[in-house]
Amino acid sequence: MTNNPISLNVNGIDYQLDPIPGETLADLLRKRLKLTGTKIGCNEAECGACTVILDGDPVLSCSYPAERANGKHITTIEGLAKKVNDEAKLHPLQEAFVKHGAVQCGFCIPGQIMTSYALLQRTNQPTPAEIRHALKDTLCRCAGYPTIENAILSAAKSLQTGEPVSEPQVPPSSVDSQVIGKIQIRPDAIEKVTGEAIYTDDLTFDGMLFAAVHRAGVPSAFVKTLNVDKARQLPGVVSVLTWQDIPGEHNHGLVIYDWPVMVGVGERVRYVGDAIAIVAAETQEIARAAADLVEVTYDLQPVITNAVQARQPESQSLHANGNLLKHIKVRKGNPVEGFADSDIVLEHTFHTPSTDHLFIEPECSVAVPLADGRMEVYVGSQIPYQDREQVARALGWPEERVRIVGQLMGGGFGGKEDIAGQIHAALLANVTGRPVKLLFDRHESLIVHPKRHATQINVKLGAKKDGTLVAAKTELYGDTGAYASLGEKVLTRATTHSAGPYKIKHVHADCYAMYTNNPPAGAFRGFGVLQSAFAFETMMDMLAEKLDMDRVELRRMNALRVGDETSTGQIMRESAGLVECIDKVEAELLRSSGLSKTELFKPRRVPGAEHLIRAWGFASAFKNTGLGGGADDTSGAEVELYDDGSLQVRSAAAELGQGLVTIMQMMVAEEFSLPSKRVRVLVMDTDLTPNGGPTTASRQTYVTGNASRLAAQTLRNAITAVMAEKYDQAPEKIHFSEQGVHVNGHVIPLGQVAAEMRAAGHAPRALYEYHAPATKPLGQGGDMHVAFSFASQAAEIEINSLTGEVRVLRVISANDVGRAINPLGLHGQVEGGVVMGVGHALLENFITKDGYVVTDRMSRYRIPSIMHTPEITSIVVEDPTKDGPYGAKGVGEIVCIPTPPAITNAIYNATGVRLDRLPVDQEQILQAMRAMQPAG
């Protein structure tokens, strides 16, 4: 019973391994057997990504002592596909996940597949209820839960019948062409279901060191003394660096350089996650222990805990220019006049909390110093070129000396736009001359990276008796935390969208973007609009009730249409599909519920369970596509033809799971009339791919889509010109097909075309830098954005009137996306957006107390699981925009924005309890319901 070797069988192979004290099964698999398909998402037995099958049962390998695995049979994701004639034959589950589009960022997928594999071992005819029960604790933040469920059902059927897995059912696109609008398999799907996909933490380099960061742990203070002697003396420590060891700029940031790389003696600590010292050591454990040995004393300062407090004159200034990052103003018409002109004026104040992206893959950077003096940084980042700039600035180098090598990302949602460990890893690699990996654990990830802005939003709304909106005045306080990050941009979007997607003559909006001692707030899917839409869409329902009007009609009559002017003075010239979204959701609601128009939003008791009350709620929203506001919205893409007849498209836009690589592949394939598998995609490498700009603002389908499409057209035109010359035919008579270039009776295969291009003195590649149409800064009127996406949603909830518990049963979601380029990817966005919206309505709340993070583990910050997932009906509305590729505009954010108010409006409709604060608190609802009941 003593420390004997561990004998275990993994994927059919027997191993005998010496025990390593303290080792988990996940470490044994990942580090010793190099089976990196098993992922670590939380390391606290919450997320399920590390699930492996052990003697037939799914278990969490991150909290399983390796020595306990003695004598056990283990199957990992790498063990599912069978080699047949030297070729990997996917298990039907893997095949179904690929085919149905259940794979997005892919990081949770090994866990999802292993958990469902165990289920299918027990029963070959699982019911949806059994699937949900089995996957309850295997979290997917892309949240394609309905598709995952369908994929499992499809795989089960295939296993029973021996037939191939069925085709997915998703709303089709109106585009009728060879590739665009057709169902496509993601280019990275297969590696993501076999466990071969490599994410940053899966990388190892010879001589690699491990880094750890000593963080302040206090929210507001000046550093008095700092002593790293004990940390340096710990055996195994190679380097300990402080603020004095930064060769270049001491601050980083995306817009404003206000975020210290490390806080030095005499300098101000502004939040608990501020870095004080960084360590590189031979092992992760030593690095962590050394970071804990760093000794710091602080002169504690008062803590600013919210945006309203930050604006009080007596509050200490956290930055040189005070606590006001920006006062953002929207001015249209004269609301004083407008309110005087209104028959009814309502006013209410709303609160939304900070929330965390909770991508399942925590942040990881590996910096690798090269012999020629350059530095490579391997990282999953949403803005590779800005990583390069920021790393180079801190090193004091020209940007070209740094290469960002983007890796597959296990989700981003806006949370991987800022610097996490990139600079720290590079500083340590530079000093030690060795590769350095800096991996955040979940605790560090929750504390350090920027969150969603907590807001307080006051809305005053005036309308005529017939429902015509006349005036709106909004006042927003946004908590941007310790550093600016993208705070100004996010809160600008919150402000410009704060009077909803409606035509209103008089609109004034004022937003105070405030620094506080909370963790920084930055980009997060919805980008401020999720917050202001919750406030305004609740007001719209309150107004409808006061006016005794149909809430759907109220929205329809005021909806922005072509010819209308937005709050910022932009005339909608085209592509305004809101009315169609409203109409289609209402029609589907009437059709599927069987209710009449007057009953539609009334409470309904469940027969046989009278304490359960159901009701529908409704909300609409809009969201800009692209950076707008006068920014140069640019993306570059390069397309190259190879001798094997394949093409590669390259851009440093980021693939976070959302499916940009599929979009790029499809657009290039379309332009060359090829099946998409003939096009390879390379993204996120600053040496090899042109700058695609930040992956934010629902912009990449539009800008990098256009860049890819136009680069492909440029190359095709160049080829046509060369072929026309060589084969003596008019260019317009030359055409492309899967077989090659058709010219003057010949069919020249594309591989040969590459050679002929070179022979003619032309490189077979083309670079295109796409600039989106110019926009105007806020305050100047005109086009602030190139396009807007629109959406309406209806949500049906069920509330238990005895306990206050709320469930979301169904969501109907209509989104005007311009054009559906990739229906499968679009469907994934719709499902994931709704589920994230459900999370924001019912579950998610990033809590700080006096600047300290309360929700500092995944066990305290809950995100939706498959159990929280409603039935989702997606309706695709296509009102094309002129400059979008094939008419497409953004979809990544709009899909989640109407969900929270649709849910809270439904709760009101069921109970009469008006909620003005997210997330919904079941206890609060129950108390309010009881308070409304007549006494006795």
């Binding site: 004290p21 303290g22 080792e23 799914p58 002592p65 604790d137 518990e805 579950l843 809590i847 929280h868």
Partner: protein, 290 residues
């Protein structure tokens, strides 16, 4: 710096208690480890010298009828308890409680013994066992002892077990006779910490349309898992109907103490919920006992 140095895998209870007693301090036993591993990894538990693994001991994984008792090994993971026809037949409240703990992967590891040993006042498995009048068998180097389950709990997170010398071997539950039945229910919160706001289990005997015996366990309603003895008495000799339920609800509210847990529930909310849970559990158990 590692979380443990030695990892022992004894195969008998005797070896396990001896190993535990002779291991250098600090050392401890590990069953499912779903809590202990996290405590070690997150620094809530200091690193140990030796972990004594209890999951390879056949006696701790038995599930069998002995005489008029059902014996459930303390080292059995929850999923095996849930799936067992014997437990389903004799202890519905325990099946329902164990089926709700954690997620499927955790239930494949976490043991009933671990659930009890943590001595939390609202542990689902514990509340289920409490309603079933379970007894626990405890082994030490000096031998075995058997105690009513409730005697194990001393305070929140504190048990009377000597962690250095004693381990929970198994639980014994009286076999269910005709007209006896049990039920368990609980309420969670959507946000934040995954601990029940409230859970409650009922066991009762129904003879000739009347309750002839009853057990009611509630958590958290005090520092230790709570048996509502006055509520139990109040049910005796009555049929389960609205009037009885109403009286039982009042009695329970009078005898149980609920407190406010930040970010989980106020005492007031718990008082509102406990009457709902009591009603549901009484009705379910009553129907099952028909």
């Amino acid at each position: 710096m590692s979380l443990w140095k030695e990892y022992l895998r004894p195969t008998t209870v005797q070896d396990a208690v001896l190993a535990l007693a002779s291991a250098p301090d600090p050392s401890c036993a590990i069953a499912g480890g779903t809590d202990l591993m996290l405590d070690l990894q997150q620094g809530h538990h200091p690193p140990v010298h030796t972990l004594v693994d209890l999951t390879n001991i056949p006696e701790m994984r038995i599930l069998e009828v002995r005489g008029d008792e059902l014996i459930i090994g303390a080292g059995l993971p929850h999923n095996q308890i849930v799936a067992s026809p014997l437990v389903q037949q004799n202890a519905q409240a325990l099946v329902e409680a164990c089926g709700l703990i954690g997620g499927p992967q955790v239930r494949n590891m976490a043991t009933l013994g671990g659930n009890v040993a943590h001595a939390l006042p609202a542990a689902d498995g514990t509340i289920g066992l409490m309603s079933l009048n379970a007894q626990a068998e405890i082994a030490s180097p000096d031998g075995r002892r058997r105690v009513p389950l409730r005697e194990i709990f001393v305070g929140p997170g504190k048990s009377s077990l000597d962690a250095k010398r004693e381990i929970l071997v198994s639980f014994a539950i009286p076999l269910r006779k005709e007209h006896q039945a049990s039920a368990f229910c609980r309420i969670m919160r959507a946000q934040g910490i995954a601990l029940p706001i409230l859970n409650l289990a009922v066991w009762l005997e129904r003879q000739n349309g009347l309750v002839t015996d009853a057990h009611v366990a509630v958590g958290p309603a005090g520092p230790v898992p709570f048996r509502a003895s006055q509520t139990e008495t109040c049910l005796l000799g009555k049929p389960i109907n609205d009037q009885t339920i109403s009286a039982a609800q009042e009695t329970l509210l009078a005898e149980a103490t609920f407190r406010t847990s930040p970010a989980r529930a106020t005492a007031e909310y718990r008082r509102q919920l406990v009457v709902v849970l009591l009603k549901n559990a009484l009705n379910t158990a009553w129907e099952r006992a028909a």
